[in-house]
């Protein structure tokens, strides 16, 4: 990345390195949030709708894991994926795939815990009607998840925000390799440690702007969809 130019000039001149970094950041976090939603939402719904021994413990744990420090998640995934670790044979350490894995683990509780609460509340409201219509356990889960989709979207956005913002996990499992696993956040950390604070700050503002734009787009979509289906 050109040393002398500020972050905004890089955008204007279409610096390819910067675009590659932005693209990687978005790809990793979006992929992770989609995976986390696919896993976390059914998990949360299941927890909301079933009763078993230790359910309360699991709920408390899930809520607590929303605060899992990214660097801890990164460390755990690193040890798993290291060549000396159990999953070393996969050979995905220091690749974007490992970054997706780490961020997915980070986001799952952030999606699952609010899902659990939302679905539990909704079930209280829908219980009689769905039972009267003869809906079985599987159908119950799908119907509630679909009906709660706008509320759950907020949980998904929270998960995406966390993923896009974190640096601890992707730094450890990705290695911040130039041109390969370097994301916006790790670049900001790097430029800070090289002493180029204006560039780091500029990149930070770019990151925040992108995240705001994504949130705005999702909000707009939600408004449009709500208008259509109430």
């Amino acid at each position: 990345m050109s040393d002398q130019l500020s972050a905004w000039q890089l955008i204007l001149y279409g610096d390819p390195t910067l675009f590659a970094i932005v693209r990687l950041s978005l790809a990793v976090s979006l992929f992770a949030v989609v995976l986390a939603a696919l896993i976390g939402m059914p998990l949360g719904a299941l927890l909301a709708l079933t009763r078993f021994h230790g359910r309360s413990v699991l709920i408390v744990l899930l809520n607590a894991l929303m605060g899992l420090p990214p660097v801890v998640a990164g460390l755990a995934v690193y040890l798993l994926l290291s060549r000396s670790g159990p999953l070393g044979a996969l050979g995905i350490l220091f690749t974007p795939a490992a970054m997706v894995v780490a961020q997915t683990i980070l986001i799952i509780p952030i999606v699952a815990a609010p899902t659990r609460q939302t679905i539990e509340d909704l079930w209280g409201e829908y219980r009689d009607e769905l039972s009267a219509m003869g809906v079985g356990p599987g159908g119950r889960m799908m119907t509630l998840l679909w009906d709660a989709r706008f509320s759950l979207l907020t949980a998904v956005l929270a998960g995406f925000g966390r993923a896009a913002a974190e640096v601890g996990a992707v730094m450890i499992v990705g290695g911040n390799i130039a041109g390969f696993t370097r994301t916006m956040t790790t670049t900001i950390a790097l430029e800070t440690s090289k002493g180029d604070l204006p560039l780091a700050l500029g990149l930070g503002l770019i990151l925040v702007t992108i995240v705001i734009a994504i949130n705005a787009a999702v909000w707009g979509t939600r408004i449009w969809a709500e208008r259509r289906v109430g």
Binding site: R83, S193, G195
Partner: protein
Amino acid sequence: MRFGVWSIALIGLLGVTLAGAAATAEDRSIVVASTTSTQDSGLFGYLLPLFRAKTGIDVKVIAQGTGQALDTARRGDADVVFVHAKSQEERFLAEGFGVKRFDVMYNDFVLIGPNSDPAGIRGKDIETALRAIQAKAAPFVSRGDRSGTHAAELALWKLAGIELESAKGPWYREIGQGMGAALNTAGAMDAYVLSDRGTWISFRNRADLAIVVEGDKRLFNQYGVMLVNPEKHPQVKKDLGQAFVDWLISPEGQAAIAGYKIDGQQLFFPDAEKKGS
């Protein structure tokens, strides 16, 4: 339902992007565990494209402190290590994790401090300087991260006859981070800090800092490179890794190292032996 199709397409696109990023680099690439000083000074940004142009091999650099880099290699997560703490490197070799150690280049350490020089050490030799810092309890930032620079710093305290464990006080601040972070912190605290010259020259947030002690023979900083032992970790890419090692110590690689300059100043000085050591 069209929304569903769109989202699947999006997911597919993302997946392909990520897979592609993984796949293309997989073929002819190696992982080199190196130090923050070689990264933060910009040396790799300069060298690696030259190496790639010559051999088509992609070098993926993980920049950590020397201690951490060697540990990464011990775990088999790197193919080559390129660090600057000879005693730690020799221990690594003795444990059987490295194949052979080669000198590659050197530069020197410099003692950085605030322009106001509260300990009054400008121009002195390093021993005197450190003793003065400790005596006056002037703020001092230490890397504290088992890096090559940290190891050198500890060795210099010992040389100055100071038993750090007992002499440590609030003036001695261990931050456990890389060279750039240490310089940032020293600038913000108006503290002294030991740095390698390469990182200092390329560092841009100097605040009120300047070089206060340099040129002392004991501030010599040697870099070495080793191929990780494939007998310990069979998946190490030994041919590609050896190619990198060979290039670094070849006349061509050595000339490239000498050719890296910032503002006309050379940062690293090649010193590989003409034959392998």
